[in-house]
């Protein structure tokens, strides 16, 4: 069934179809419509699960992870400050191997106060042990939420589906929404460990020694590494069920390309248009979309970029004192390639400013013509 809905409502639709049992959330712009939509359904008796309207995102995650440990399917959504407030609990959920799913609507982190898209909030949670999937459009958001539950429950790690403020959260697009039975066939009822069994009592998450801590971290590392395969498998299976899939990364027109433009999220859509035009003009430029950020798809990126001498990374986030975070990650992924790459970082769309095809064209032209690669990112700033 086609529905013409916002990205936020796409998230809500997916959460409902996944028979999510507990939703604990706290309002924050621009995530709030997810929370409201689910509340509407709960009020109408159409949600299936229950809502916990916690007094903070921190408590929302506390409730989600403990409910998840009890064995139920739990979801939350947040943005920006809310995500930052949750930070402690993100580590905790991952450390407890609680397969909680979250929708994170990217928004700038204060200060200064603003409400628009910026990926730095979710990327700041890079090391919390969450799987992160960055989505390009409403359909992908919808599909990724459904996939996220199977991935999370399959590897027992929490999973974050990331969508951008405004560009996705509040933009309406037609999306394909499957029937409940169809979804159920792809995502079976929750079957995760029930940790609190009165007939077989145990103490979950006691204090451990140094050596024990190290061993548990290693198991989490293995889980995260293996998650790459699981994500791919789930994505393939999703394709079999619904006729759409996304991969860990997506490569477009890399054959014989002199330059690969690497993007994530909504910039990708714009880049598709800009690059089509550039290729028509004879520029040998391909596109690489990184969809899964954690675990980082190092092997596959190295493989597809192997024949491409120049790489430009265009992104809407910043690690102050370094560069765009995807850029750093990609450089690290390529550092052991046989042939060296020229990787140039570009920052654009920061604070939610528009990244139009023209800007992308300028980036590509710069990257192709540049004699020396700069270690500093190049700011493609909007003129005031």
């Amino acid at each position: 069934m086609k529905k013409f809905i916002t990205g936020n409502h796409a998230v809500a639709e997916a959460v409902r179809l996944c028979r999510t049992q507990i939703v604990a959330a706290y309002p924050i712009t621009p995530q709030t419509p997810i929370y409201e939509k689910l509340s509407d359904w709960e009020a109408a008796g159409e949600l299936g699960g229950i809502m916990m309207r916690t007094e903070s995102e921190h408590s929302a995650m506390a409730a989600c992870l403990s409910a998840s440990l009890a064995g139920v399917r739990a979801f939350t959504a947040t943005s920006s400050q809310g995500l930052a407030l949750m930070h402690e609990m993100l580590h905790f959920a991952s450390g407890c191997r609680a397969p909680v799913v979250m929708a994170c609507v990217n928004r700038t982190l204060a200060a200064p106060w603003a409400f628009w898209s910026d990926q730095t909030d979710s990327l700041s949670q890079r090391d919390t042990g969450w799987i992160q999937i960055y989505c390009e459009d409403n359909q992908e958001v919808f599909d990724s939420v459904i996939q996220a539950f199977r991935i999370a429950e399959g590897v027992l790690l929490p999973c974050m589906v990331v969508l951008e403020a405004n560009y996705i959260s509040h933009f309406m697009e037609p999306i394909e929404v499957p029937e409940q039975e169809q979804t159920d066939r792809f995502l079976p009822p929750v079957k995760i460990p029930e940790r609190f069994d009165v007939d077989n009592p145990s103490f979950v998450a006691p204090v451990v020694s140094q050596v024990q801590f190290e061993a548990f971290r290693h198991l989490s590392y293995e889980a995260m590494s293996n998650a790459l395969d699981v994500i791919e498998e789930v994505d393939r299976d999703f394709g079999d069920h619904f006729g759409r899939n996304y991969g860990l990364v997506e490569a477009v027109g890399l054959d014989g390309a002199e330059l690969a433009l690497v993007t994530t999220a909504t910039i990708t859509s714009t880049a598709r248009v800009a690059l089509a035009g550039l290729r028509e003009k004879g520029h040998r430029v391909g596109l690489v979309k990184i969809r899964v950020f954690r675990p980082f798809p190092t092997r596959i990126l190295r493989e597809i970029l192997e024949p491409v001498p120049r790489v430009a990374v265009l992104e809407r986030n910043l690690s102050l004192g370094r560069e765009g975070i995807f850029c750093s990650e990609l450089k690290a992924a390529l550092v052991n390639s046989e042939k060296p790459h020229h990787v140039q970082g570009y920052l654009a769309g920061m604070g939610g400013t528009n990244v139009d095809p023209d800007l992308i064209e300028r980036v590509v032209i710069d990257a192709l013509s540049r004699e020396r690669v700069s270690d500093e990112p190049i700011w493609m700033m909007e003129k005031k």
Binding site: Q21, I22, A24, G49, I50, M52, R53, T54, E55, S56, H58, S59, A60, A62, A63, C64, L65, S66, A67, S68, L69, A70, G71, V72, A74, E88, M89, F92, E194, R195, F196, D197, V198, N200, P201, S202, F203, V204, A205, P206, V207, V208, S209, Q212
Partner: protein, 289 residues
């Protein structure tokens, strides 16, 4: 006299835990848990309770339990409680233990949220009146004048009135209890167990280590706190109906203070001021009944 065998409730707390000798928390946990029974889920958060609960792979409590983060005893309990209901396990109560720091200070917001939603769990604040687990630092449950590592000249603030805060949430049940009055404590846990919604127990459990007193004095100090009206035993139903459970002997506050090294520096006028404050609080409580 030959003592006849008597039937006793099963113990949930096990020996071998890491509590200090004479630990009031261990006594309180033991009393609470044997009244609760082991068909329940227990949440602990960083505090001496968590230390007592045992290091991996050992557990001091024979009950399913979870060691959650410091400030989220209440939402953790709420999450588990909701999950159990979804799974059809409505008969399994969830009980959270948090220290005074985890309740009065860092956990107050999340407790307030859960209490406001009237989430279904029993919350036991194990109050030893300072951050003991981190080595005795002042909390908002530390009484005025009390020494701690971060109030070396004596605490300058009054103890926060947590019971009134909880009463203001209009939760079904809030009660004070202490390890010196075991029957009262047991009865309150059992009463709470039969109720639904957020139930709050403010449990005073003296800490020989942090209060600078001899190891055997925890129960005595608890009794003295009650008998001097420093810590009256009462219940609040629905946030407004107050019931005083025990008419104390109204002993002078020195009876309580003199047991503890943390008050050793008190001047006579300090004692007088504590007495006056205690009397005021007691009169105020009586007015509410």
């Amino acid at each position: 006299m030959v003592v006849k065998a008597q039937s006793r409730p099963a113990e949930v707390l096990r020996p071998g835990h890491a509590g200090c000798p004479g630990c009031g928390h261990a006594m309180g946990m033991r009393m609470v848990l044997r009244a609760l029974g082991n068909r329940a889920v227990v949440v602990v958060v960083p505090s001496c309770v968590a230390v007592i609960s045992g290091p991996y792979p050992y557990a001091a409590l024979n009950v399913p339990m979870f060691h959650s983060a410091f400030e989220i005893a209440a939402p953790t309990a709420a999450g588990i409680s909701q999950a159990l209901k979804i799974q059809g396990k409505d008969d399994i109560p969830v009980l959270a233990f948090a220290g005074d720091g985890g309740t009065f200070d860092i956990g107050l917001q999340s407790l307030s949220g859960a209490a406001d939603r009237n989430e279904d769990f029993i919350y036991v604040c194990m109050d030893n009146e300072a951050y003991m687990n981190t080595g005795i630092q002042v909390s908002s449950a530390t009484p005025r004048y009390a020494w701690t590592g971060t109030s070396p000249m004596g605490n300058t603030r009054r103890k926060k009135h947590i019971m009134e805060i909880m009463a203001a949430h209009r939760i079904p049940y809030a009660a004070t209890a202490c390890i010196g009055f075991a029957d009262d404590l047991t009865a309150k846990v059992k009463k709470a167990k039969e109720m639904r919604g957020t139930r709050f127990l403010h449990l005073l459990s003296p800490c020989p280590t942090g209060w600078k007193m001899e190891q055997h004095l925890s129960p005595k100090a608890a009794v003295a706190a009650v008998e001097t009206n420093i810590f009256p035993l009462y219940e609040i139903f629905g946030g407004s109906e107050y019931v005083i459970n025990y008419r104390s002997k109204g002993l002078p506050v020195e009876t309580y203070l003199s047991l503890q090294g943390r008050y050793r520096h008190l001047r006579p006028e300090d004692v007088k001021s504590i007495q006056a404050e205690t009397d005021r609080n007691w009169e105020e409580l009586k007015r509410r009944v």
